[in-house]
Amino acid sequence: MGADVGDSNGAAALAAHGLSKRFRKKVALDAVDLTIPVGSVTALVGPNGAGKTTLIRVCMAFERPNAGNVEVDGVDPWKHRGEALRRVGYVPQKPAVYGGLSVEDHLAMARSLHPGFDRDYARRRLEQLAIPLDQRADTLSGGQAAQLGLAVALGTRAKVLLLDEPLANLDPLARREFIQVLLDAVRSEGSTALLSSHIVTDVEDACDRLVILGGGKIRLDCPLEEAQRTHRLTDADAPPAGATAVGSFLGRGGQKIMTLWRLAPEGAADGAAEGPAGGAAAEAASLEDVVLGYLAAGRGNAGLQLN
């Protein structure tokens, strides 16, 4: 192991320092600083093109950063790929399965590629979901294929799980099942998960931390509870007391322009900001509202609407 391999007992499961990645003139990540605490389930949220996939790919050593660095469980994946990948379980964006191989073959392949792969553990997970092990992967449903990908990632017994929009192509039931399996595993193993998605409602119940990425920059990085506690929503320009405007966007139904406000820490703590100075009612912001507000701020317009 080289000198740059860090101590895995540190508090950060994943840390990025001034991380930048460009694809020719397009900036995908712009000096991103990020710390994902050990044991957290973090939602990485942002619109398409925000840089979520690029961030995860840099963590997987699939992309080389142009500046800065990232550490996964204290290891720089670009400098020590093998060491870093032993600590990471990865679920790619599209369910990537070998069409000609059976489910069991996938587990055998994972075992042959990853020395620490726990085949029995992965097998049990799949059996719990009633996915036949002898079924060919190209005959699995989208949800089953995603579960297979997750089982392979979990079977590595990795400390850090990186999931790149695994829910994007799943139906609502399959999404819920996927999230449940993920949470069970994370809680029982004490691992850390970073789950990227552009569908806010999917990650709302699963995650305890929120990172909003827009235009290659971190817009918000805080615990989920804090994100909701420190933000308010109004349909007027008048701010709640001590609040600063984050962004405006088209509200549900497309009738009103809503503005997201960030409360001052003391205001958030004592629950004082229930109404704006001008008297208009301030609503508690949902997670989706928070995300929309920050993404609208990033885009500089009010027309943004997430799912």
Partner: protein, 360 residues
């Protein structure tokens, strides 16, 4: 390793089946054609000498001999034999390209590379395992096809040991295996670089076509000349000395020899002058005929003082330098070694590149 080999072959099920079927067809077809030739039971020396224009003249062959020879050449020049020869010539390239192109490129196209690369600590080890699996499949299959082609060669040239003859040298025996390996590893490198199967196949076809086309020319100009010896004069040449004009035909061609190059000689010494100039300077004297203007009849012949009658001149002549059939195995070892070196180089390029490239 066994599991990975098995899974690689299973993962490339179509390619595996296609390669097995192709090689077995080629081997069976070769053996079938060899059987047809052998069943004619052409007597040794019967007509072969005449057909090939070398060796002792077979004068007045018997009718039975002639009939057997006709049947023999009907088979050996037939469509079936032609197809088998074409298949044997292309086989190593088809097999190598068929298995090599998708080995990495298909993973990238179908999005499975991130799955594997996220699991494996070293992509090089991953690709090495896949290349090894492919090699373990194609080597025995191509060896079977190559040995069957050797049997066919033995049947096609009665009296000539196929392992002491350079006839169809590159498309039979162990050379087939090494050409297949070179095509495989070269195409793996292209597939890894391009990340797309079809472009890799097309580019590999072009590269293999050029490599095979320039192979003999390249070797004949580089590594083989020091090994070649001057072809000895045949005592059986029927033209030699009849009119003394040129020494062409003085050196008999033997199908078991590997022709490497020709060197021009004049007066028994190497000569690199211009043939046309030499002949212009030494062209035969043309008799000048004088015509009687009254009768219109020739009245005499004047001979100028040229260099002398052509039939007294021995002009420049080409001497073939060859490698005799008895050096078959050293040459096989040499060419196989070069191909193996190229294969390993291509494999190394693929291993380096797979470590650098994106999995999509």
């Amino acid at each position: 390793m066994l599991t990975r080999t098995w899974l690689t072959l299973k993962q490339h099920r179509f390619e595996t089946i296609a390669v097995v079927v192709l090689c077995l067809i080629a081997a069976a077809a070769s053996l079938g054609e060899a059987y047809r030739l052998n069943s004619i039971q052409l007597p040794a020396g019967c007509a072969i000498g005449q057909r090939y224009m070398f060796g002792p003249d077979v004068s007045a062959p018997s009718t039975a001999c002639q009939l057997a020879a006709d049947r023999f050449y009907a088979v050996s020049n037939g469509t079936g034999m032609g197809l088998v020869r074409v298949l044997l010539g292309l086989l190593p390239f088809i097999v190598g390209i068929l298995f090599g192109a998708p080995l990495v490129a298909k993973e990238i196209e179908q999005g499975t590379a991130p799955l594997s690369w996220a699991l494996v600590g070293s992509r090089r080890r991953w690709l090495f395992g896949k290349m090894l699996a492919a090699a373990l499949l194609i080597v025995p299959l191509l060896l079977v096809a190559g040995l069957a082609a050797d049997v066919l060669q033995g049947a096609s040239s009665p009296g000539l040991d196929p392992h002491a003859s350079f006839e169809n040298f590159g498309s039979r025996g162990v050379m087939v295996v090494f050409w297949g390996l070179a095509a495989l590893f070269g195409t793996v490198a292209l597939g890894t670089w391009l990340g797309r199967t079809l472009p890799a196949v097309i580019l590999a076809l072009v590269v293999c076509f050029l490599a095979r086309g320039f192979w003999d020319v390249g070797l004949n100009r580089t590594v083989l000349p020091p090994l070649a010896v001057m072809q000895s004069e045949t005592p059986h040449d029927t033209q030699n000395g009849q009119n003394g004009q040129m020494m062409y035909g003085q050196y008999a061609w033997s199908p078991s020899d590997l022709n490497v190059y020709y060197r021009t000689y004049l007066d028994g010494k190497p000569w690199d002058g211009d043939w046309n100039t030499w002949w212009n300077e030494h062209q035969p004297v043309q008799p000048t005929v004088k015509i009687d203007p009254t009768s219109g009849l020739p009245v005499g012949v004047a001979v100028d003082n040229g260099p002398g009658p052509i039939n007294q001149i021995q002009g420049p002549y080409s001497v073939p330098f060859v490698i005799h059939g008895d050096r078959y195995w050293p040459i096989v070892a040499l060419e196989s070694g070069i191909l193996l070196l190229g294969s390993l180089l291509c494999g190394a390029v693929a291993l380096v590149w797979v470590d650098r490239r994106r999995p999509y």
